[in-house]
């Protein structure tokens, strides 16, 4: 069984790689298998995790038992989950003619949730924490920094400042303001360059992993 499975895995691996040459029937077949199976897979996983694991078990909780399996108490049902299920059912109103507009209610609920949650989360994690993190002594604690560290600290503070200037929308990027914005985009480009350079190496190791599978697990050429 396992041997067949490895052959299937190898067949699919080569099918995907063949896309690099050009679109072809082998790739199309691998893609069709990928889409069909994965769509089914995720529905199954989400169904058991959320509808059964979160909703059903939440509303009809099992009894609490001790280690020996003796009854301790009845589980506490969380009836609030029914609201979630009702919203879910309303989502299906789209399938019925005439009442499709009701499905906007759960959508409105989700959009309200996303906006409200992210607003406060990003406010504290992105704005407050980053501003606080940028307040650093330029010369180090008790004047202890080396020349490179001092330059580094100045770059951190000045770079953050210039980067923020770049993002200003309501002011034309001209004159001194424009020059600062220019420095800002340079700093941002260094950030992107750093991230790019950092990732290149790790991407190569992914390919090495697949080659290892083909020549090791499948063909047995690499031990």
């Amino acid at each position: 069984m396992e041997h067949v499975a490895v052959w299937i895995a190898a067949f699919l691996t080569l099918g995907i790689i063949s896309f690099l040459y050009k679109d072809n029937p082998w790739y199309k077949l691998s893609e069709a298998i990928f889409v069909g199976i994965s769509a089914g897979y995720w529905f199954v996983v989400l169904f058991w995790d959320n509808i059964y694991g979160k909703f059903w078990v939440g509303v009809f909780p099992p009894d609490v038992v001790d280690e020996a399996g003796n009854f301790v108490s009845h589980g506490v049902p969380d009836y609030a989950l029914i609201v979630g299920a009702v919203l879910g059912v309303l989502m299906l109103a789209r399938l019925l003619p005439g009442v499709g507009w009701i499905s906007r209610w759960p959508l409105a609920f989700i959009v309200g949730c996303t906006s409200g949650l992210y607003l406060m989360n990003y406010f504290s994690s992105n704005i407050m924490r980053q501003v606080q993190g940028t307040i650093i002594p330029l010369f180090g604690i008790g004047y202890g920094a080396s020349v490179y560290e001092i330059i580094g600290n100045i770059v951190i503070v000045g770079g953050t400042f210039a980067g923020l200037v770049y993002f200003f929308f309501s002011k034309e990027h001209r004159g001194a303001f424009g020059a600062t914005a220019k420095v800002g985009i340079w700093v941002i480009m260094i950030t992107f360059g750093a991230s790019f350079g950092y990732t290149v190496m790790s991407r190569m190791s992914l390919l090495i992993g697949r080659i290892d599978f083909l020549f090791g697990d499948w063909l047995g050429l690499i031990k």
């Binding site: 990928f34 889409v35 994965s38 989700i110 406010f123 503070v157 790019f196």
Partner: protein, 415 residues
């Protein structure tokens, strides 16, 4: 200039209120804790017990936490210490005691979480020797965690959110009243019109990819709001839009959005549900399908807006290989460099969230961008003042500067 004045105004209000410290955290009063110790219930006398075991209510929570503190055993020394571990025991209501934590030597506090405010709790802390002999402290008096209705610890967060949110709302309102607002040109968004026009001329579709996350991600929400504006233009030009998505909810939201756009553009009959199709929730399964669509249908324009992970480069490079004009944008800094390398225009972070307001051209939406700028100005001034204060305060120990630094640290600490 006016922006500067408004910013200064906001900032002075905030510093004034900040310095008065109306929300400063009072030391929590001790709640019914027992301080009797040293009359320990001793099993095998090898180490001295902990002393002064106190239980306090954890302030400003939903009645779910208690703070324990104690003075470590006198045998808990850095060198030649005899205590190997501290064990914290809890007695809920009148049941038997249960071990809830083991803490390393030197520990003198513990926060017990996930409690029920209707239950009473008592605690014992045991000092344990290397030979596993436990020496127990006395048991504390029963304590109930208290629930508070307002979290004053987050007072400054509230104040700052009020100021920056207030600035956004203020400028929305003033734009609504007809005040003219300037917004600079954003290259990536200026190109939208041209990109749609190009697809129209070439008679090829426009591919719109809203990232791979669901509607519970703010980047997807941004992608859908931008779609509203882009689809309106597409409807105007009578071009085809193709939108494969990886989440069912995104499919529903995108359909509503495009449908609305076609209706407001006066072409409701041109809209079809087939414009948006669900593929699969699987990250790379979705990518495999989108890559296939790209090379087979050869869209003239590709929008990659939303939350992207490793697939950013696969999609952008495939789009590039078919010669499409690509406009990309995400708030994930790690993926932005790949979009910059492979796409014609990239919306960087904040620009993604500003895009729908910019494209709408509606004064009130543009007003919100001006409000964002006030936030930036405040951040910049705080950074500048803070860095000067901490640098001078640190180097020459100037009290006033240290006070300013302490104040800013308190205000911007997040809990």
């Amino acid at each position: 200039m006016r922006l500067l004045i408004h910013t200064t105004l906001f900032l002075s209000v905030f510093i004034f209120i900040g310095s008065s410290r109306i929300f400063s955290v009072e030391p929590s009063p001790q709640v019914q804790a027992d301080t009797l110790v040293n009359t320990a219930d001793t099993v095998g006398v090898s180490v001295a017990p902990v002393t002064s075991l106190l239980v306090d209510d954890y302030k400003y929570d939903n009645g779910e936490q208690l703070n324990l503190s104690w003075v470590p055993s006198i045998d808990d020394q850095l060198i030649d210490g005899k205590v190997s571990v501290y064990r914290v025991y809890r007695i809920t209501n009148d049941s038997t005691r249960e071990l809830i934590a083991e803490l390393p030597p030197g520990s003198n506090s513990f926060t017990d979480k996930n409690l029920n405010r209707h239950d009473t709790y008592r605690y014992i802390v045991a000092a344990v020797s290397a030979s596993d002999d436990e020496v127990l402290s006395t048991t504390t008096e029963p304590v109930q965690p208290q629930r508070e209705w307002i979290n004053f610890r987050r007072g400054y967060l509230f104040l700052l959110a009020l100021i920056i949110g207030g600035a956004v709302i203020y400028y929305i309102q003033s734009a609504r009243r007809g005040k003219k607002l300037f917004v600079r040109k954003i290259a990536g968004l200026e190109a939208v019109d041209e990109a749609i026009g190009r697809a129209t001329e070439m008679g090829r579709p426009i591919l719109y990819i809203p990232g791979i996350l669901d509607m519970d991600d703010v980047q997807t929400l941004a992608a859908i709001t931008i779609l509203g504006r882009v689809a309106h233009q597409i409807a105007d030009y009578d071009t085809k839009i193709r939108m494969p998505v990886s989440r069912s909810l995104v499919m529903t939201a995108a359909r509503e959005t495009i449908k609305t756009a076609y209706q407001t553009a006066g072409r409701p009959d041109q809209y079809s549900d087939d414009m948006v199709s669900y593929v699969t929730d699987e990250q790379f399964g979705y990518v495999a399908a989108v890559d296939g669509i790209m090379v087979r249908e050869k869209p003239a324009t590709v929008f990659l807006l939303g939350a992207f992970f490793a697939e950013s480069l696969i999609l952008a490079e495939t789009g590039n290989s078919i010669g499409a004009i690509q406009i990309a944008g995400t708030a994930r800094p790690a993926q932005l460099p790949f979009f910059i390398a492979a796409c014609d225009f990239t919306l960087i972070g904040e620009e993604l969230f500003a895009a729908s307001a910019y494209l709408s051209g509606e004064p009130k939406a543009l007003g919100s961008l001006k409000g964002q700028d006030v936030g930036k100005a405040i951040a910049m001034i705080v950074i500048l003042v803070g860095v000067i204060a901490v640098t001078i305060g640190n180097a020459w120990d100037v009290k006033f500067m240290n006070d300013v630094k302490d104040m800013l640290t308190t205000i911007f600490s997040t809990q």
